[in-house]
């Protein structure tokens, strides 16, 4: 079954959502069926939403073993974060 029904990852953007969020995964024979199954399983057919499906094999994940060298250096360099500026009044959407 895993051969003919590969795993797909599902990303859903809700009607008022700004971005696609990972909702879960499912098995489907191809992308078309994956979309339809995702609709049934993760959206209850609510209208006005967007679904992405991606074969799980297409996703490359960062490795948990390398988490420290991978992410730690950014934490001790505060100058990388633009947190020292006072935001002028009147500037919106920041």
């Amino acid at each position: 079954m895993t051969q003919n029904w590969p795993l797909w990852e599902v990303f859903v953007r809700s009607r008022r959502g700004l971005s696609h969020t990972h909702a879960g995964s499912l098995h489907a024979p191809d992308a078309e069926m994956a979309l339809r199954n995702a609709r049934d399983l993760y959206t209850r057919r609510g209208e006005g939403i967007s679904i992405w499906v991606v074969p799980s094999t297409e996703i490359t994940a960062s490795s948990p073993d390398e988490r420290d060298p991978f992410f730690a250096p950014s934490a001790d360099k505060p100058y990388r974060h633009p947190t020292f500026y006072e935001i002028p009044e009147g500037v919106r959407h920041l």
Partner: protein, 245 residues
């Protein structure tokens, strides 16, 4: 409704029963798949379609009377559903072939009813979105089974051929359902032909009505498996008459 006489009420009631019974009985058949579908995802899809149909049945039967009484206390001869929808599930291909024939029919029918201003307009306007999905689901699976393995193609062809004789009944005019039945049948055939061609399958040959079918489901004449379906569906209600749940 003030100007409608008893005559048109009777027509309206029998039309609501015909459409409502189609939805109710097919919903019951699809419900039988719960826990038995080929994969979990398909299980959810079939259950979704069954729930859509049950919702339609409830609205339609309520137009004709008390929905529970109509569903659970009528005898076989009082049901007005098409013989197609009462056919057993068979293998997955049989279920898909039945869905293909019926959902294409129901979608064309409701699209036309939704555009009109008859008593079924409001229901049809809501249900036509559901039937579009049912139709798409049946189409997707017909393409995959027809264009799948040797075995899946053989099964799909057997199923299409086996159910073909029940399709003629769909286009017998129903009193009170104001659509152009001949045009409906032409659109149904054209759409079906298109899908079957893409699936590498052909339109079945042979008559679309059984020679033995003196009248049919719309007249209350049903095939043998229907009695067992009703026995199962109505058992609890008949064992505890008057109970509420």
């Amino acid at each position: 409704m003030t100007s409608t006489g008893t005559g048109s009420d009777v027509v309206r009631t029998s039309a609501a029963l015909a459409l409502g019974d189609d939805a109710l009985i097919l919903s019951h058949r699809l419900g039988e798949w719960a826990g038995h579908a080929p994969v979990l995802e398909e299980e959810v899809a079939l259950a979704n379609i069954a729930l859509d149909l049950l919702g339609q049945a409830r609205v339609l039967l309520s137009m004709a009377g008390d929905e529970d009484e109509l569903a659970f206390l009528r005898e076989e001869r009082s049901f007005r559903n098409l013989q197609l929808v009462e056919q057993p599930n068979g293998d997955f291909a049989h279920t898909i072939a039945r869905q293909l024939y019926f959902s294409f029919y129901q979608h064309e029918l409701y699209a036309e009813l939704a555009a009109g201003d008859g008593p079924f307009g409001p229901l049809a306007a809501k249900a036509v979105k559901e039937t579009a999905y049912h139709r798409d689901h049946a189409e997707q699976w017909t393409l995959r089974l027809g264009d799948g393995t040797e075995e899946s193609r053989r099964r799909m062809r057997t199923a299409l051929d086996g159910l073909w004789k029940f399709t003629g009944e769909m286009f017998q005019p129903v009193d009170g359902v104001e659509v152009d039945w001949a045009a409906l049948e032409r659109r149904w055939l054209a759409a079906l032909t298109g899908v079957l061609e893409r699936a590498g399958l052909a339109l079945p040959e042979g008559p679309r009505t059984g020679a033995w079918a003196a009248g049919a489901g719309r007249q209350g004449l049903h095939t043998e498996p229907f009695g067992r379906l009703l026995a199962e569906m109505q058992h609890l209600h008949r064992s505890h008459p008057g109970a509420s749940w």
